[in-house]
């Protein structure tokens, strides 16, 4: 069973639709820690404000997720779901992330290399420097385009599995063992995105 965690941040329709389209069986949208504890895989989608992740803690979902991650259950965070894997975000300083990966997510700078930088970063941008050992990006080539829409981003670290360049490089994909996150929207990234989701479903 794949648990898709609903924390009332944006709509989950697209993610669930894509998982079903790929033949994933037993996709359950849930706010229950008990359901998460029974899951074989966990997906944390999310568009919207980092503060909405506070609900995960309040509902006991953070603890349930932490336990499952420790057991080795594959976890995929999407967009704000990726950012939640870090210590936090300057978007909502009082809200703590999972702290699975070090450092904070920060807003895009207003200018970059002397020119104005539009924010949010909206549209199709390419994945670069794809780590060869990434299971999530199996079959995805450097330069593949995916769809982004976000104003905050995670810094590049040793757990980064692919970067994207916009106002400098940021983490487009993070992956350490069973814990993975994508800043882009695989459910909206045509064939490349479906490939990423399929890789996750087949783990």
């Amino acid at each position: 069973m794949i648990a898709v965690i609903d924390y009332r941040a944006g709509n989950l329709t697209s993610v669930v639709k894509a998982l079903n389209y790929l033949g994933a069986r037993d996709v359950v949208v849930t706010q229950s820690p008990e359901v998460v504890r029974q899951a074989d895989k966990i997906v944390l989608p999310g568009v919207g404000h980092f503060q909405s992740t506070q609900l995960l803690k309040d509902l006991g979902l953070t603890e349930a997720t932490r336990e499952k991650i420790a057991e080795g259950v594959p976890f995929l965070g999407i967009c704000v779901g990726l950012q939640w894997l870090y210590e936090g975000s300057t978007e909502a300083q009082a809200t703590e992330g999972l702290c699975h990966f070090a450092s904070q997510c920060e807003r895009f700078p207003a200018t970059y290399e002397g020119a104005g930088l539009k924010s949010p970063h909206v549209g199709w941008n390419s994945l670069e420097s794809i780590r060869k050992d990434s299971r999530l990006l199996r079959g995805v080539a450097d330069g593949a385009f995916v769809y982004f829409t976000h104003s905050w981003r995670a810094p590049v670290s040793q757990d980064t599995a692919a970067v994207t360049n916009y106002g400098g490089a940021f983490t487009a994909v993070v992956e350490r063992e069973n814990v993975m996150g994508v800043q882009f929207h695989p459910e909206k990234s045509a064939d490349v995105g479906l490939r990423v989701l399929k890789n996750f479903v087949e783990l």
């Binding site: 009332r8 941040a9 944006g10 709509n11 329709t13 697209s14 639709k17 894509a18 389209y21 568009v47 919207g48 404000h49 207003a110 104005g116 539009k118 924010s119 949010p120 970063h121 909206v122 549209g123 199709w124 941008n125 390419s126 385009f145 769809y147 829409t149 976000h150 360049n165 916009y166 929207h185 459910e187 909206k188 990234s189 045509a190 064939d191 995105g193 479906l194």
Partner: protein
């Protein structure tokens, strides 16, 4: 590198895709779901469905059309027309839309922009602006509502700034002067709006050739450009168009 987006637009009336010239003289162009998938397969970066008569006739968005269109669409999908409240927006998102486009309702009650954004994120809110300036300068371009039927007295650049301040994620700027004419986008107006806001601006109205897109991405400073009629009647598809743009030095999603 962030690419320039090509957006295919479906203007829907009574469940069918239609296309007009300068917002009138409507002709039938096909089934929304079928056309959306054809455009996505043809390399469109995004699909927009506008229920063009919803506000005018005072009815809600055609949710069944949205559901059917969204069913197997894996590129961003925007729906506009008849979204008057945050509840209307929620119903459209439930039906499978990723963003809503609001126009008349945002003018009538600008708080709506922030209300939808609060629940679904700013990225999910596109404020559509229908602009007319005739022979006047860009600073005098005026905002029209109700499918171009009503003048508001608001200046386009001012309203774009306010929409951004209230939390819009993108601006969809349609020139009523160039709409359906296939004689090129209003690059001057697009550039003025793009310079006035930080959020992405989608140019619309007047697409007729690849050269028009090159101009609106260059001189017009557009982040995305939207077209309808040139795609519906098979003049070109997005992939072919992008090939031309790439040759002209525009960064696009290719292969797609």
């Amino acid at each position: 590198m962030l690419t320039k987006r090509i957006i295919a637009c479906l203007d829907v009336r009574g469940g069918r895709v239609v296309k007009g010239v300068q917002f009138v003289d409507i002709v039938d162009a096909g089934d929304p779901a079928e056309l959306a998938h054809r455009h996505a397969a043809g390399g469109a970066d995004e699909i927009v469905l506008l229920d063009i008569t919803a506000t005018h006739e005072g009815r809600g968005t055609l949710l069944d059309t949205v559901t059917r269109t969204a069913a197997k669409l894996f590129v961003p999908f925007t729906v506009g027309g008849g979204v008057r409240t945050a509840e209307d927006a929620a119903a459209v998102f439930d039906a499978g839309a990723d963003k809503v486009s609001i126009n008349s309702a945002a003018i009538a009650r600008p708080e709506l922009i922030g209300e939808i954004g609060a629940s679904f994120g700013a990225q999910a809110v596109i404020v559509a602006i229908d602009a007319r300036r005739g022979a006047l300068g860009v600073e005098d371009a005026e905002v029209f509502v109700s499918g171009g039927r009503k003048a508001t007295g608001l200046r386009v650049v001012d309203w774009a700034r306010e929409a951004e301040a209230r939390g819009a994620g993108e601006i969809l700027l349609t020139s009523m002067d160039t709409d359906g004419m296939r004689s090129g986008f209003d690059c001057e107006l697009t550039a003025a709006v793009s310079a006035a806001v930080q959020i992405p601006v989608i140019a619309s109205g007047g697409a007729g050739s690849a050269a028009h897109f090159v101009k609106v991405f260059g001189r017009g400073k557009a982040d995305a450009a939207l077209a309808a009629s040139i795609f519906h009647f098979g003049v070109t598809d997005s992939r072919e168009l992008k090939g031309e743009l790439q040759k002209a030095g525009v960064s696009v999603r290719l292969p797609c």
